[in-house]
Amino acid sequence: MAIEVRIPTILRTYTGGEKAVNADGASLSALIDDLEASHPGIKERLIDNGDLRRFVNIYVNDEDVRFLGGLEAELSDGDQVVVLPAVAGGA
């Protein structure tokens, strides 16, 4: 089983500069654990206190995972996952 995960510039320090990596998992949560095993440190950048970080967006097949059950979102072979930090700020 292989799921392609697109990695944003700011997190490529964890993937040796790779723009996309393969990982496995039947759910987003499992996928992130698998990413962490290969790229230690990346999980903390995605998850805070057991939840997805507010300003990190993750998409499965172009759908924001917040609409797919968040960390419980189910994944299958061939799915495409994209991680994008929010572009946001304030005065």
């Binding site: 510039t9 917040r66 994008l84 930090p85 929010a86 946001a88 700020g89 005065a91």
Partner: protein
């Protein structure tokens, strides 16, 4: 240093004035690694706020997919401050996620929607460190300015 052409500069300023008192936000895309801000893309401020901006998550994905297809990247990430100076706030610094981009801040606090000069400043924001940089406005981007 940020080198930007007059038309791009004017487009960012016009966007900021039009949205005032809500924060305007967008990017200027350019070829990957070129440091050439070529294509202004205005984004909707999903927060619709005078003190906060955020790209809508669906539009954010569409934007990046389009950039990837074109081998482009956000060379400039811009937003306006409508009541404060053109300097990155603590929130701006904490949420800055494009270490390679020029972060442009425009302050519309003096003239709002009206004609008149604005503060237009540019910064690098890397690992929580803010470094202001010079802004050079040129008539058009030339090959040698890349």
């Amino acid at each position: 240093m940020l080198t930007i052409d007059q038309a791009t500069y004017d487009a960012i300023v016009a966007h900021a004035k039009r949205e005032h008192p809500v924060e305007a936000c967008g990017i200027v895309a350019g070829p990957e690694g070129s440091d050439r801000p070529e294509r202004v893309i205005e984004m909707v401020n999903a927060a619709g706020s005078p003190t906060f901006y955020e790209f809508d998550s669906t539009e954010l994905l569409e934007l990046y997919k389009d950039l990837w297809d074109r081998d482009e990247e956000p060379v400039v990430v811009y937003h306006s401050h409508t009541a404060t100076e053109a300097y990155p706030s603590v929130t701006d610094v904490n949420l800055a996620s494009e270490p390679g981009a020029h972060y442009v801040l425009v302050s519309t606090r003096e003239h709002g929607n009206n004609e008149g000069p604005v503060d237009f400043r540019s910064y690098r924001i890397v690992d929580g460190e803010v470094t202001e940089e010079e802004v050079t406005i040129v008539p058009t981007l030339t090959r040698s300015s890349s």
